[in-house]
Amino acid sequence: MTETIAYTGRIEDERLATGRGRYVADLRLPRLAHAFTVRSVYSHAKIRSIDTAAAKAAPGVLAVLTGADLAADGIGDLPCGVELPKSDGQKAHQAKRPVLARDRVRFVGECVVLIVAESVEQAEAAGELVEIDYEPLDAVADVEPALASGAPAVWDEVPDNIAYVWKKGDNDTFEKAAAGAAHVVRLTSHVSRVTACSMEPRGALGLIDDEGRYVIHASTQGPFNMRPTLAGLFKVDQSKVRILAGDVGGSFGMKSGAYPEDVLVLWAAKRLGRPVRWISERRESFLSDDHGRDVHIDAELALDKDGKILGLRGKFDVNIGCYLSGRSLFMIGNLGGIAGVYRIPTIVASVRGIFTNQQTSAPYRGAGRPEATYAIERLIDLAARKMKIDPYQLRLRNLVPPTAMPYDTGFTFVYDCGEFEGNMTGAAELADQAGFEARRAESAKRGKLRGLGIANPIEVAGGPFAKPGKDYSSIRVSSDGTVTLNTGVMSVGQGIETMMSYLVAERLGVSVDKVRYVQGDTDLLPGGRGNGGSSSTGVGGACVAITLDNTIAKGREIAADMLEAKPDDIEFADGHFRLGGTNRAVTLFEVAEHAEKANDDGFTAAGEFQPPSVTYPNGCHMCEIEIDPDTGALEIVRYTIVEDIGTVINPTLARGQIHGGVAQGVAQAIGEKLIYDAESAQLSTGSFMDYMIPRAHDLPNINIRTREVPTKVNSLGAKGVGEAGTVGSLAATINAVCDALSPLGITHIEMPATPARIWQAIENAREAKAA
């Protein structure tokens, strides 16, 4: 590698900071028509009839379409594909998400009627004229009522509302370990339902191109995933579908699948012969973006008298909402993280997906990883409290040492490397853990309660674990002096354009402004991972490194031809191919010119990378908070992270990812929650006024230190960073709150630890003491 090029800020920033970003809503096309969807106002109801006559006659209206029209055009439901058994041992009911509800709606906000008009306002106004005759049904708004006997069934085919069951590990072994244990602690807790709330709402623009192909400009993080789904629904070959993703304004897992509205704009475009765009309104986002988390945990940890962990058992009930797909299984794929960074001789766990009358849930930043880490890290704190051992010490006693690497946790994951004690001692130093008791005493003098929470997250990245996904990339060196890079991974805010462009510039010895980065176009590559699973660097970046190797190898062949030498004798450095031991050299771009004259392809190379295994970013989070016991108000006074993300490619971008991840985890711990009315299953928190989104003053300053333990899984040594901040912060924050409240005898508080909830817990504790 040549000398590192000085980093001068992200390449995409000049565009984004001047208002020249290209989000779906910013595209301008002639004859563009606008879509609006009429959504169910009931959480559970039969549709008796739909009257669209008045809407059809409204000004500017081009089409009013229902599920019956979809069926007439032969367009089916979004696929399910889940093979797991349900509680009776039979294969899961294929509870597919319809594009437009036909005879039954199952959540508030479900698309029922599509209206396309000349303007958004006209479409929306026509929406008011659609008459839908509903027959309301009883609804279930949460896991507990859904599992109660006699509960209304979300699907008649699944009377107990259990969509799937999954188990791993041997229960008898755990029982034996627990029987011989000095202590068994139990955590029953709920990791709340939240929503991604990307600042750019979902949106899609569908059109039929000159060749009759289905083309969609989508706000998505997974163009290559979307293509087969859409091709399947429209019954065309994948080559007849093109997905384009421009700038995407945040996604966080939520924009990773094809949504009904994506199908609708293409279908309408085909029917009308005009491009059609739909942009979500914020209230629609709250209702109809796939939700995240909502996992009910019941877990036990067994320890011997010295605090050595003997076994772990966890039961996880996931509120998957009303439809089932592969995206409903996030808790299973990433559950291995419950082993934490500890030696745990026996682990047994089960996951059940529970149907409710809520929007479907799906991966959200971390996707099961924060939930898994929360379970083990809360259990350790509960055990430490019970055994009167310092939580930091209890963790140290159980760590997997570096000498044990590679380490098989016995529960899915095999860690390739990691220095967990180093993370902890680093965090302790950075957080001035030694000075904490003095700070606690000082807070107490002011009548405040101070707490310190620790969490040691470890998460799987670049997966799925069983078979990591492949990424593709290609490079074209042009005689005009530019290098074009196409990647299968993509940025939805992470700065991947910058990271990749620097990789190319450094390796090829060209300046960064000569690199053209192209992402999110399914026409350009055979496939790609999109964004997700903390894989952009570790898989996508490593793939680009391979493509760069291939580019240089190809260049050596061409240069050999030009210099009348053997490729083996050609060296490449600083943008020049040189015949070894001579002054004879040609530049990268001269090679391109030569290649362009010789053949149509010119100087191009492609590469693909399927990692042999996954990686395991890990770290130690320390959260320090102060509570005003009179009001329950909570302030996060410092937040410290030591994170091993392997080799750090760009420290600025890594810091940004960790910051953003912590913001989302901390916010869930102290405020974010989607709340549904228990009876009607109506969403009570459907706007920024009711749903806590962290603002600048809600968040602490975060001290971050990276500790690089490079992985050998990919050539860059990178482990992945996108989810790291979130995975540890739920647990660290709740542990801190519980630590602060522990002098009052409070052992646990549920998230979100809002001032009201904290105040109530303090009041209850005081009353109990007085009684």
Binding site: G9, R10, E12, D13, E14, R15, L16, A17, T18, G19, R20, G21, Y23, A25, D26, R28, S198, M199, E200, P201, D247, G249, G250, S251, R282, V492, G495, A633, T652, L653, G656, H659, G660, G661, V662, A663, Q664, G671, K673, I675, D677, S684, S687, F688, M689, D690, Y691, M692, I693, R695, A696, H697, D698, N701, I702, P752, T754, P755, A756, R757
Partner: protein, 210 residues
């Protein structure tokens, strides 16, 4: 720290009552909006409020220095005029309800949430959007500072953050990190780029480059 900001934060953070009445929600909204658009009342004083509420009225605006004569529907917001009529798509719609700040522009030098401002009410107003901030190829100092401080990720909130930041500085509300955080609390960044946003505003405020 402004009490308004505290209020906005704690409202957002607490569990909502089991049944949120529309009225209560609107009141909460109003308090958040009042803060996020603190200068709006001033703006209304400075911007001549005409009787232009009739159907299809014609108004004159100066947008990024250019005079524009527009016929507007009385229901159209400045945000919609900017994006849909003038094709100035840099200003973003994040909520259309005054709660996220993505649509922040300067109206007669004051920051407003353009999604809540009816265009017809602002005949004669001067509007600056993100597109009007740079001088030719020279970025505005705050745009430059956002880039240097990594104050953006997905970029969707960024135009609003920058416009709001410009006003935050000119209002004299950028004296400390705490003050900046409070006076920027009307602008949501879901990517959590707040550290860089606050640093960028602080840099420019300190440098007196505005």
């Amino acid at each position: 720290m402004s009490t308004d900001a505290e209020h906005t934060g704690s409202q957002g953070r607490s569990d909502p009552p089991a049944r949120v009445t529309r009225r209560a929600a609107l009141q909460t909204a109003a308090s958040a909006v009042a803060f996020a658009t603190a200068p709006a009342s001033n703006a209304q004083q400075t911007g001549p409020t005409t009787s232009a509420a009739a159907e299809g009225s014609t108004i004159r605006l100066i947008v990024n220095g250019q005079p524009r004569t527009l016929s507007v529907d009385p229901r159209q917001s400045i945000l919609d005029i900017l994006r849909e009529t003038l094709d100035l798509t840099g200003t973003k719609k994040g909520c259309n309800a005054g709660a996220c700040g993505a649509c922040t522009v300067l109206l007669n030098g004051q920051r407003i949430n353009s999604c809540l401002a009816l265009a017809a009410m602002h005949d004669g107003a001067e509007i600056t959007t993100i597109e009007g901030l740079a001088k030719g190829d020279d970025l505005h100092p705050l745009q430059q500072a956002f880039i240097e401080r990594d104050g953006l990720q997905c970029g969707y909130c960024t135009p609003g953050q920058i416009m709001s930041g410009v006003a935050c500085i000119s209002e004299g509300h950028a004296g400390s990190v705490q003050e900046i955080k409070a006076w920027m609390s009307g602008n949501i960044c879901r990517c959590g780029a707040y550290a860089g946003i606050v640093e960028a505003i602080s840099d420019v405020a300190k440098g007196g480059k505005l």
